[in-house]
Symmetry: D2
Subunit: 367 residues, 4 copies
């Protein structure tokens, strides 16, 4: 069982790529809240593929329908909010050869899922491992973000810090504040430096021309989190955010911290250079640097929450690859096809933001 | 609530640095198992500080006592296994100035814990945020490792891949097999290249001479995990391992994958270069490379599980640092003291291994 | 958060009486299982109101639609099984006076829900407290029953042991075996003694003529459960069954045990008369009596599981009752209306059976 | 896994009758609370056997020791409160014949535990199924009661409503208020009518003279619970209280409601006679009767919480009983011994109160 997360706000996600629908059930939302569905839709649109040449050609409507949880006025009523997104464009035929031969695609979950669930695994479109399952997570995170803003003044944001080996400038955002989040919010491919972003997109198109794919790094932010959210040991902000963010397909790593000498780079620092010294800023305790990314001992410090998540290149490529036919146990070669997905980093960015928002709301209610 | 973890094997950890005791309650162990307590002790000894100049001067006995869970023959009986480690050497006096002034130490949880729990926070020795709390986790992981070995033939291991900016050679272990684990197992400071390890220790001593500290990177392994352990979404191996490993103080990041182009480096690869191609190895499906670190879609592939965890430099340094007196809200300077902890990476290594072993056993029972 | 239950099989229920839909998400079902949807439908039909004069006039289609969790062959695939039942006949108008005045109906959750969720509570048709929410539980239990039968040979059953003060004969079933379950299975109003059942129905009609209602007692059975399912303390069969069965509206009590001197009657026994002596029955350990209802120490004994659940009379009556207008705080009288629900006991019976089946499957997988 | 309970306050209980210790870990207590340990001790003394002729001869000290969770001032600090009670008087020898022959005692968990855990089950003194395990639950409940009183003004109480077939007068307490709780609080054998209590004790002694045992019914109360605690479906007050109370050995049933026509008696009522009409009592919404025991839809109504728990007669009797030797599978007779436990109802009463208090605090924090 792996499709639910959260202690105080509980998210249960269901669906497969080619099932009739995907969706989410969210327990623990406060009653009397009017969800901004346009905002939810805009988050879903940010993650949707098929809008341009940068991603897979599948077009998804991704219109969420609230099955329950709202009263006659359209406000949350205390009952679980169930959201359904119907799977319109499910072309199972595309995957028939995979199903027939059970030749697992390298980099996908085809083989491990077969080892786990056997013949009954729904391999169509990756089944329950499809990136489509991030749509309900995104919807839940978009709602969490609204509650974080309304009740705590917390704002979240996200950026493509690196893609196809090309770094945004600066590689590490500084300062991290509401102005930065505003600047990023409007962008379909969110970067700080437009030129860098342009080169990233060119690199994606180049990979696409080769029917290949690229990866990248997403940096995520939360501004306005007060000191005191989170818990020690296994209930820390890092633990909960990581548990959520590793739910996004293709994430290979996560590291916390803001600025140059944070995250994995912290390993090369000395304590005197890494510790964030405290100072009084108009009566408020703050740190001059934020190498800890707003978290000490699993608990927020009042400084911005910052982490980065690393995405491998999309495994869906159109180039010949070695594989094995599971039925019959013979070596085979997966033919190159037109179907490939050159980059998911920009679409994954709102999902990372959603994961952060959901985890934060859950921790807020638990602190 | 943050002190428990696990779905099928449930670990609850209690204690503070200066409480009468620390310990763990483990639910869900199979009945009829004879714990190898000598092996548990050896894991605890690996993580214990005070053995040499490389770490803090506190000496801990760390002898676990089973309060319950064993039958008259000393085997697990199906009841929760409760383990207590008494806190012998608790010199609260050392922390009196911190308590009196509430001047939070930079890089420690003093401030965020105060924001979370208020005046009642047990600040002595870092309280519940102390590295001491990793002792019960290590004991639990040592027991999990025994069950993994007995029931599944799974072996775990760990290495200091980088410390104080000095890399072990090779930086990424290859191949990862039982021979590698054997080589690492006997070492107090586990590295592949003795020369590199020597330079790491020199760097630690140099930092110690400056009353400063260093960080590093631990690489962890599990060999023999069959294909099919784990689940999609939030119950994947990465999610569960990360949730556990971020419970270790000073961890700043985690990344999965074996070899050069894995982990955060995967972000710079193309799909054609990152996908691990399948081949038949004597009838068994394997991959020639293991950039996914033995995990696809959250589920094991049968290849070794590999990840690395990044540790910041120990925040406990003996150099003057800026801080704030929380009571009274005035700027202050924490005086440099003789007490400092130049490196925890080698002691944290068995804790990372323990976290991996515990998470793996829990996932195994849930698959 | 209260809408999920289960450790190894996790059921999350969503919906309100007048929401677009109600439904369930079931995690943890084994892959490769072909649900018998006709059987699920027959369970749903057993609990559906509106089939005759004995219950409320609302007619519900209650056709479950699987949104996810099935593969192309219609088998479970390892992904959560999401079931939706659309709310067709939702006549919100009927409840307008309640909504306008907020005059809580005695015996309903109107007042306590208002205290809990405030104005935003969806009061239409009882909202999330409606008996309609037992439909998804029934569907989940019907599926659990199929797995219990397939994998363990366990059969469940249920009977109206008492209704409107009229006892079925015998009041306590004896013996409890597969023949008993077969006899009960076909009946819309399941009793052992047809004459008693007839008098119960007459009593219901008499209460209905008075626009009043009656209660009753349901006895539930599981035959074929092997010894060794369940756990001590809070994970015992009684704990888990009770946690589930109290999720059914109108249940006021639950008691375990088979035969005359069990359940609450056990309080009047002596140990020598209540202990179930063990004997060897063809090599198998059994007890001659089964006053413990197949459970000792929370764990099954191999004897039939037996308990009874007590239902209060339906609170929905058509007679004038005192209430209070919450808005304005004035005393009021709820006018008698034609809308009343004279008895839910026979419709609740399959829900009790479903609760038993679901709890049993969850415990089976956890043992 | 069955030894933990609670959503917001998490209680994990460990121990066996003859293990070195029993104890509890409580997560989620507020920081800064000074536990009244004398009060905890008095609750433990109420449940301790061996004080008089009414119970088993084992004498237990039952002095709880806080291993962690308190700061230097003795207040809760936010870390889990770990409590250990050492098992002093553990006379394993008494149980040797049971262990040697594996002849399960009727009415005990010996057989079902053997079926569940096999040979490794710690059968000494009932192992993890021993009534001793209620000591940590009682300690946790005593602490919860202190927080309920401090933060919400809630008081709990308990009474032996029936024992050995003798009813206290009145059988159903009315009214249920703080005066009632005061009257009950001082009593070792809490009843409303001293004469009835005397006859109960005589009946216990008479059973003891026969080396037999008796059962009874405990009625439990909480006064001062505001309207609005609890949740629908599986998180209702009944569900959570029942899940906790069935953790007490020998409980066979639970029923909610105050006064004559509540609990199982409700099954014989009509709705017009069972619904609790609302009225305004000085601006506050109350009900004139409280047949629902302070709960509607799983949520508190502001009226006293009332339920009764039924206890079977203690299975530990000194009379010959039929059993089976599991090793060798032959019929046997357990010889009558001097060891018997004529009644646990009065000792179980504070455990029921503790279970109520713990469940209430958990629900309060979750509402």
């Amino acid at each position: 069982m792996a499709n639910h997360i959260g202690e105080r706000v509980r998210l249960t996600i269901f669906g497969q790529s080619h099932a009739p629908a995907i969706g989410a059930v969210i327990e623990g939302l406060p009653a009397g809240f009017r969800v901004d569905w346009d905002a939810v839709q805009s988050w879903l649109d940010r993650r949707a593929p098929g809008r341009n040449a940068l991603s897979t050609s599948r077009r998804e409507a991704d219109v969420p329908r609230a099955l329950s949880g709202l009263n006659a006025n359209g406000e949350t009523c205390g009952a679980p909010l169930a959201i359904m997104i119907e799977n319109g464009d499910a072309r199972s035929g595309d995957y028939s050869s995979i199903i027939e031969t059970r030749a697992p695609r390298p980099g996908h979950a085809d083989f491990s899922a077969w080892a786990r669930f056997g013949e009954a695994h729904d391999a169509r479109g990756g089944g329950m491992f499809s990136g489509r399952l991030t749509a309900p997570l995104t919807a839940a995170g978009a709602i969490a973000a609204q509650l974080l803003a309304r009740d705590y003044g917390v704002e979240t944001g996200v950026r493509v810090a690196e893609c196809a080996g090309i770094e945004d400038r600066p590689r590490k955002a500084d300062p991290i504040d509401r102005a930065l989040l505003s600047k990023l919010r409007g962008q379909a491919f969110p970067v700080l430096d437009a030129d860098s972003g342009g080169r990233m997109r060119e690199a994606i198109l180049a990979a696409s021309a080769d029917r290949d794919s690229v990866g990248g790094i997403v940096e995520a932010y939360a501004v306005g989190v007060p000191a005191g959210w989170g818990s020690p040991m296994f209930g820390g902000l890092e633990n909960r955010i990581a548990q959520c963010v590793f739910g996004i397909p293709a994430v290979r790593g996560i590291a916390f911290g803001a600025g140059e000498n944070s995250g994995f780079a912290a390993a090369r620092m000395r304590g005197s250079g890494h510790n964030d010294a405290f100072f009084l800023d108009g009566g408020e305790v703050r740190t001059r640097t934020n190498r800890h990314g707003g978290i000490l001992g699993g608990i927020s410090t009042g400084m911005p929450i910052v982490f980065e998540a690393c995405f491998k290149p999309t495994p869906t490529i159109g180039i010949e690859q070695d594989s094995v036919e599971l039925v019959g146990s013979v070596q085979t070669v997966l033919k190159g096809t037109g179907r490939h997905d050159p980059c998911i980093v920009q679409r994954a960015a709102p999902v990372v933001e959603a994961g952060l928002a959901f985890a934060l709301l859950d921790v807020a209610y638990d602190s």
